[in-house]
């Protein structure tokens, strides 16, 4: 890439370079913005929300931003005092995520039905490979817990932002690839379906709405990363309206032996042969 010009240089010798720098800055801002969203979502699911965290979430600015994207909490979140809210959410958290009969936000549980299965170990290895060690919060957390996985992507994004700041594109690309890979192999396989489940199962609007936010954010991230063919294995497959389904085969196509040569062979007159419309097949190659 072309060398960035020093700021003290009064002459902008290369407009393309300036534009690249602006792109980088924008990209960096985007990374940091995304990292923040990951951190917020991680904070929602990794453990019971603290009063500080809740206070920050109830900041009018943030509430408005969430409202702009269709996230609207009920009075149970907005009206209660913080201590009461924290207590109520601790109970809801236990019911949804941390006691018998709930829906543990653990990839192993969602995809295999049991704690500590392959995803647990795979994810732990990824963290280690990328130089991360888990530290204990208020409680022990599995490596494939939703909050941990989101936190990991947040870390990658922050490192990406740092790489961009020093214009270290190889590192940035590598981290971007890691993020995509992590989504393709882990988060993307369950988060969309899971968020739908929590949305349905929550009694409190906080978890209902944050689950919706998680689901929407996940879809946006997947689209932005170009992972459009990523299948959610936790009942998260998209429901495509029938009208949008493009047929790749002709359901009227007769079984073998019904084509004109076959018919002739069976002695059917040419007058009895049907005209069979041919529908061209779509290109099945993956795009992107």
């Amino acid at each position: 890439m072309t060398a960035a010009l020093a700021f003290e240089d009064p002459v902008v010798a290369d407009p393309a370079a300036a534009e690249t720098m602006q792109d980088l800055a924008q990209l960096r801002e985007e990374c940091l913005a995304r990292a923040n969203l990951y951190r917020i979502l991680a904070g929602v699911f990794v453990e019971e929300p603290s009063t500080n965290f809740l206070a920050a979430l109830r900041e009018p600015g943030l509430l408005q931003s969430l409202c702009d994207v269709g996230i609207a909490f009920d009075a149970d979140f907005l009206a209660s005092d913080l201590a009461t809210l924290a207590e109520a959410l601790a109970c809801e958290y236990a019911t949804l995520f941390a006691s018998s009969g709930g829906f543990p936000p653990i990839e192993s549980v969602r995809l295999t039905g049991r704690f500590k299965q392959d995803p647990h170990f795979q994810v732990a290895q990824i963290y280690q490979r990328m130089g991360f060690a888990q530290v204990k919060g208020r409680f022990e957390v599995f490596p494939d817990q939703l909050g941990m996985e989101l936190m990991f992507v947040a870390e990658l994004l922050e490192r990406s932002a740092a790489a961009l700041a020093r214009e270290d594109m190889p590192t940035f690309k590598r981290l971007e690839k890691e993020s995509k890979r992590f989504w393709a192999l882990h988060l993307g396989r369950w988060v969309r379906g899971y968020s739908g489940l929590i949305e349905r199962a929550s009694s409190h609007s906080f978890y209902r709405e944050m689950a919706r936010f998680l689901g929407g954010f996940a879809m946006e991230e997947i689209a932005a990363m170009g992972l459009s063919h990523l299948d959610d294995l936790d009942r998260g497959q998209l429901e495509v309206p029938k009208s949008e389904i493009k047929m790749e085969f002709n359901p009227d196509e007769p079984v073998c032996g019904e084509c004109p040569p076959g018919l002739l062979e069976r002695g059917a007159g040419s007058a009895a042969a049907r005209v069979i419309p041919i529908t061209p097949l779509h290109d099945l190659q993956l795009r992107g």
Partner: protein, 879 residues
């Protein structure tokens, strides 16, 4: 080189002459599946899996097991081929043990109740928060009276830790579960010959009498004993005769299944004794030298128990009683086994005693192929040990049941409700009395929901069972694959010591019991000033095990705990022979057990200072240590007088018959023609309450229709699958019928382990309810494949308490019921029990205690007894 031109037909013809050459060519590939076990290769990774030996704890047989791990995850469980008792075999339950570790409904964090008890609302709290709250409650309770702290446990394999904990707190209020298990069997046996169980040498027996056990599916000790039963059958052409109300798998395996009226096994056994004695088939030498009665006394006593008398009571034909008695007495060697059929009744202790008299009077005790003493091993406790509590506990040693050495736990709710003992803090460990005990939700559920009777309920459990769901505080325990525990079970003729060791790291914030209890004590007494901490000075579970095992003679030389960590068991008596499936020593011969343990001679050193009385009892330091017979000093039996007590004088002190006897259950005598007796039984894949959530086991059995005889069913117009209403004096249930000839016509029998209303999404089938729609992932290979809708109906709500006044056992198989076709408003699964009616049943059973008004009526032969006031010394004692 010209390549031979071969058509297919031609080369196949060539192969016709290659047999000999092919046979003698080297074979260098061996199929691993033909090995005996002990190692395992991953089918995908092709890498040898890490093998960690342990002892199973899905049920209570403690089979030797090996856990195979990939990446710290248990992927397979198999038997331990080095274990002399179970010889590399593990039953279906043991193979499924990893389900406990990874169960998605497992409790992984301390939980504090929010809302009403049983509402299902919890808050996750840290261990520090949990311990702070708990110790505040304990402090207050200790100040008031340490006995207001209660520990009730179900399955306790901690090796002494629970007792240490309660003694540290100064509380004597420790109650086990044994009265709903087999306490009357124990109490029938212990004063008779010392230990609480027998080891029948099935493998070498020629004849087996089986009273009420289904050893091929359940009972102590299913896995090791069923192997030996099969060996006896095949190798010795052993004959086995089973008395049971039901055609169990064991009865079906037997040469004869003799359906017997519930609770009358003792009468049949006494009548068989009558035949043996009247026809002089007894072993007079053994009776004279090794029991506390003479042959003449025994003959005189047994005269009253005629086959005609027993036939009338039991329904067993006279000819059958006489024939089987003769066969048993003349087949040498012969053995006998009982499990729960005789014991779980009012006067179950008498039944048990009557049955064990048969091998005693025929001299089959401690013979090869006979009725042998159990062989177990013990281990020392870490020092120092806390002293015994200052004051006794009513609940722990109820004065109305002085002979019930294993307590009467199933009456505890009533005694608490009566105010017999105040409770402030109630601990429950590996217990689920709300499900497993008579009365179930109607009794124990009511007790636990009452915050005045049980102000603070703490459950130490990894699972949200019916009892844990009512707790105030849940402390997440570890399932067995994550725990350290010392182990030994008398389940073979070769004693062994084993361990349970963590095969993988504990999940979440679970803590194994001894660590949890240590942490509670350390919180109560952080600087040791209260004198509690000194009893809990160990680093971790492994350190605690070193205190147990590093100084056991023999094991110490072999390497102590390190040996056990490597092999899972000690001693290792030999190698498993792939041809025979038995254990062979270094010479290749099958290992032989030692018999005649009571005839081991006392050493000269031990005889120094000993005295011998006229009866030949050898005493030293005020204690009997042996018996002199024919000039030799033998150790005898582990009883107070070192002989077998046919006559139990201690029983007579309380107005019970000291000699073998039988008592009919009064309400069986007066039951109407259209009434039946309800019994319950265990399937081979279910046990107590802990297996319904194990998918692999639930696939095999997940519902429990009521067995009834076609004769009975025809009277009601019922066929298999029809709904029936089963009504007792305390409640009713609605379930499906299973009509079969394999059940006594006067019995209806329901398998247990089903009908959960807690214990996770699989046990309750909540994964099928609307709220739990998609509660599991779509690719969950197990929960996506639950094809059944029927989780069964639990019978315990309608079973009233009955307590054997001697042994304390619950009379599980005594309930009189009326069974009718279900009514128009009856729905499958309806069940109701009434607390008030259960209380009435409790009051009724107390009338049979030695202090009750029916005791004398039931013992007309004891008219000389001077009454409860005449009792001079306390009996009982803990086990």
């Amino acid at each position: 080189m010209k390549i031979p031109s071969l058509k297919r037909r031609t080369f196949l013809q060539v192969s016709a002459g290659t047999g000999a050459a092919a046979a003698t060519a080297p074979r260098l590939l061996h199929a691993m599946e033909n090995d005996l076990g002990g190692k395992d290769i991953g089918p995908v990774t092709a890498v040898e899996r890490r093998a960690v030996p342990t002892n199973c704890h899905v049920c209570n047989i403690q089979d030797g097991a090996i856990a195979y791990l990939e990446n710290d995850r248990v992927v397979k469980l198999e038997g331990n081929p080095e274990h002399v008792s179970t010889r590399g075999r593990l039953c279906a339950k043991g193979n499924s043990g990893m389900w406990y570790s990874y169960d998605p409904d497992r409790i992984l964090y301390p939980l504090k109740r929010v809302g009403a008890r049983g509402e299902g609302k919890w808050k996750r709290i840290t261990w520090d928060e949990a311990l702070t709250e708990l110790t505040q409650k304990l402090d207050a309770a200790i100040k008031e009276d340490p006995n207001t702290i209660m520990m009730k446990y179900g399955r306790n394999r901690t090796g002494g830790t629970l007792d240490r904990f309660m003694q540290t707190l100064g509380s004597a209020t420790v109650v086990n579960h044994t009265s709903v298990c087999e306490s009357s069997k124990k109490v029938g046996m212990e004063p008779t010959w010392g230990p609480d169980i027998e080891t029948p040498d099935f493998a070498n027996a020629k004849y087996v009498l089986n009273f009420g056990s289904n050893v091929l599916e359940a009972s102590y000790f299913h896995n090791p004993l069923s192997q030996r039963v099969t060996e006896g059958r095949i190798d010795n052409q052993m004959k086995i005769v089973t008395f049971d109300v039901r055609l169990s798998n064991t009865a079906g395996f037997s040469d004869e299944w003799i359906p017997v009226f519930p609770g009358t096994d003792g009468a049949v056994a006494l009548a068989m004794g009558n035949v043996i004695l009247r026809e002089d088939m007894q072993d007079s030498d053994f009776i004279t030298n090794w029991t506390n009665v003479t042959v003449a006394e025994l003959k005189a006593h047994y005269q009253q128990y005629t086959p005609e008398w027993a036939s009338k009571i039991s329904g067993v034909p006279v000819e059958t009683i006489e024939r089987v008695a003769r066969e048993f007495a003349t087949a040498k060697p012969a053995t006998l086994f009982t499990y729960r059929g005789p014991a779980k009744h009012l006067y179950g202790s008498y039944n048990e005693k009557a049955c064990m008299m048969l091998p005693i009077m025929t001299g089959n005790v401690e013979k090869k192929g006979g009725y042998c003493l159990p062989r177990g091993m013990g281990w020392p406790q870490p020092m120092p040990e806390p002293g015994k509590p200052a004051k006794g506990s009513y609940l722990s040693h109820p004065p109305d049941y002085p002979l019930a050495a294993h307590k009467v736990s199933h009456l505890v709710p009533f005694w608490i409700a009566e105010g017999k003992q105040k409770i402030n803090v109630y601990f429950t460990y590996q217990d689920n009395a709300v499900y497993t005990n008579p009365g179930s939700m109607a009794v124990w559920g009511k007790l636990y929901k009452d915050e005045k009777l049980i102000p603070y309920l703490v459950s130490m459990s990894p699972f949200m069972g019916e009892e844990t769901a009512l707790a105030d505080l849940i402390l997440p325990d570890c399932p067995y694959l994550e725990r350290w525990e010392p182990e030994s079970m008398p389940n073979s003729l070769w004693p062994w010591l084993g361990i349970r060791q963590p095969v993988h790291k504990a999940l979440g914030e679970s803590r194994e019991n001894r660590i949890m209890l240590r942490d509670i004590i350390h919180k109560l007494d952080p600087d040791g000033k209260r004198g509690m901490k000194q009893f809990w000075n160990f680093k971790d579970g492994e350190d605690y095990m070193r205190h147990h095992f590093d100084n056991v003679p023999g094991l110490k030389e072999a390497g102590g705990l390190n040996f056990l960590k490597q092999h899972g068991v000690w001693p290792i008596y030999g190698k498993l022979n792939p041809k025979t499936g038995k254990v062979s020593d270094k010479t290749g011969r099958e290992i032989q057990a030692e018999y005649g343990l009571y005839k081991k001679e006392i050493s000269a050193a031990d005889m120094t200072g000993a005295t011998v009385d006229k009866a030949g009892t050898i005493s030293k330091n005020g204690k009997a240590i042996g018996v002199k017979r024919d000039g030799k000093n033998y150790v005898g039996f582990p009883t107070g007088n070192r002989v077998i007590n046919v006559r139990i004088d201690q029983w007579a002190e309380y107005g019970f018959n000291p000699m073998p006897t039988f008592k009919r259950i009064p309400w069986h005598e007066s039951m109407k023609d259209d009434e039946l007796i309800l019994s319950t039984f265990k399937l081979n894949v279910m046990k107590q309450s802990r297996t319904a959530a194990v998918k692999w086991l639930a696939e095999i059995a997940h519902s429990n229709p009521a067995w009834m005889n076609p004769e009975t069913a025809a009277k009601m117009g019922v066929k298999t699958g029809d709904l029936v209403r089963v009504e007792s004096a305390v409640g009713y249930l609605v379930t499906k019928a299973y009509v079969t000839e394999g059940i006594h016509p006067k019995v209806v029998s329901i398998p247990t382990g089903f009908g959960h209303w807690e214990y996770g999404r699989l046990a309750t089938l909540k994964l099928k309810s609307k709220k739990s729609d998609a509660s599991h992932g779509q690719d969950d290979p197990d929960l996506n494949n639950v094809w059944w809708d029927d989780k069964g109906v639990h019978p315990n709500n309608i079973i009233p308490v009955v307590a054997d006044p001697i042994g304390g056992s619950q009379g599980w198989y005594d309930t009189v019921v009326k069974v009718t076709k279900a009514g128009p408003t009856d729905k499958y699964g309806d069940t109701e029990g009434s607390w008030e009616k259960h209380v009435a049943a409790f009051k009724e059973t107390m009338r049979y205690a030695y202090t009750g008004d029916l005791h004398r009526k039931m013992h007309p032969e004891m008219t000389a007894w001077a009454g409860p006031e005449s009792v001079k010394h306390k009996a009982g004692g803990e086990h």
